[in-house]
Symmetry: C2
DNA sequence: CCTTGACCTTGACGCTGCGTCAACCTCTAA
DNA sequence: TTAGAGGTTGACGCAGCGTCAAGGTCAAGG
């Protein structure tokens, strides 16, 4: 009997369904040293090593990292603990991927409906992350997290309503720009008031929004995609100037 | 107005919710060069750069890689195509994670039922991957894939029945070892026959299984976990010797 | 004027798990 | 004997920055 007491590195690799390179790596990091090393430097493995390799590969397929595998094989006592940890990590990954899938799907859907969506989409993140720092600095972490949770907690219908206001403002600004109204005209200033009211309807963005509003105006002009929402460059310029004037007078 | 025409690297980083290191990286790879570089080497960014950064971070949050993001921002035409690709990748990831969750959960369940499960579990992969190469070499790819699909296509009940046979053999071997029966005794040889019949009930493992069976015996002894399934070291030794004798006489 | 401290710069290594050369022995079968 | 298959040890590459290290720059205070 005992006809195969040991195998070469390639044999072991193919038998276990991995590569010789991986085996050398496992040797390098001390995870699976060969049973014997020939005087020529060749690595030889026996059945015990093969079994250990099987376990390694099994755990690897379950997604564990090599250090984690080493732990499991070393302190064989706590195998379930390690797997349990790993499972919770997997669940987190599931959630994360799930959220990404939802976001990407939604983004694609919007882009397909042709609604200048990249801009709209940007708009969402806009009030939430872009000025996060500023909000936190001026009104504290509480205000920001309230604002953030406010948005996250909105129902789809509420979000839709909010976005309808965006659309309404957008078309009114566009129309005004098309009609060539002046930034300091009553019409433009009325729109500016609506715009600011709409903005300040977000909890966490109270009083002293002058610079905030002015900054927004700059952004609109800086980005032709935002500009597109307000009737192109002319529209964006109108919005910026009207907001600046309104902010100066009323805020 | 225009009070903030440009910002320092830290300001931009905090404002956009990232780090200065990331911005330097984006500069290095040409994804987002600073608007202006001072004579002192300092990086300065304006509103346009901030907007671009926002887009970068948005796409990054959706899980796209930096080269992919560069493509999207460069050829703004094909944004949905890129996202669609990414989405299918995300779906694959979901599947993969899902399978891992199932596997890990199942493994934990088994380990908790205390059934020497690590060994059982190993056992599964055992007949399927470990000898894949050998099976393929001797009986061809067809035989292997038949064997493999055989296992995969088994119903839960069938798998349970098969595992019941394992359990039955296990306890009988353990009992025999405890009674101190000799490897060449009728009792041990009867068990060996059952063992071999059980093994050969797997399609793809026909005739000429002598070396296969002998190799199994060695494995049982080499690994104390397998040994535990057969009544410890003494049991494993009994199994090995009995199988060797049986193989010599009958295979 | 000098110091302190905050902020900036350019390297360069580290992390994960090997794939993939490169340059060079060793063994086996014809 | 010679080709060809297989073995060895480096060492780079990948993704996306985190994290020192070593050293300029700038604004404010003693």
């Amino acid at each position: 009997m005992q006809q195969h007491v040991e195998w070469s590195i390639q044999d072991i690799a193919k038998r276990a369904g991995t590569t010789s390179r991986a085996l050398r790596h496992y040797d390098d990091i001390g995870l699976l040293p060969p049973t014997r090393i020939g005087s020529n430097g060749y690595r030889y493995y026996d059945a015990t090593a093969l079994v250990r390799l099987q376990r390694i590969l099994l755990l690897r397929d379950l997604g564990l990292g090599l250090p984690a595998i080493a732990d499991v094989l070393k302190t064989a006592t706590d195998a379930t603990g390690a797997l349990r940890n790993h499972l919770s990590w997997l669940h987190k990954e599931q959630d994360r991927i799930g959220r990404q899938v939802a976001s990407v799907t939604e983004t694609i859907r919007r882009m397909e409906r042709g609604e200048q969506l990249m801009a709209e989409n940007m708009f969402d993140g806009f009030d939430h992350t872009q000025y996060k720092d500023e909000v936190v600095e001026r009104w504290g972490e509480d205000a920001y997290s309230r604002s953030d949770s406010w948005w996250r907690s909105m129902s789809a219908a509420e979000k839709a309503k909010w976005q309808a206001q965006v659309a309404s403002l957008s078309s009114d600004w566009t129309a005004a720009a098309g009609a060539g109204v002046a930034p300091d005209s009553d019409e433009a200033q009325t729109l500016a008031r609506r715009h600011v009211e709409w903005l300040t309807s977000i909890p966490g963005t109270p009083g002293a929004v002058q610079e905030y509003v002015t900054g927004l105006g700059e952004m609109y002009v800086a980005d032709e995609r935002f500009a597109a929402n307000y009737g192109g460059e002319a529209g964006a310029t109108l919005v910026r100037d009207a907001l600046a004037i309104y902010a100066n007078r009323n805020l």
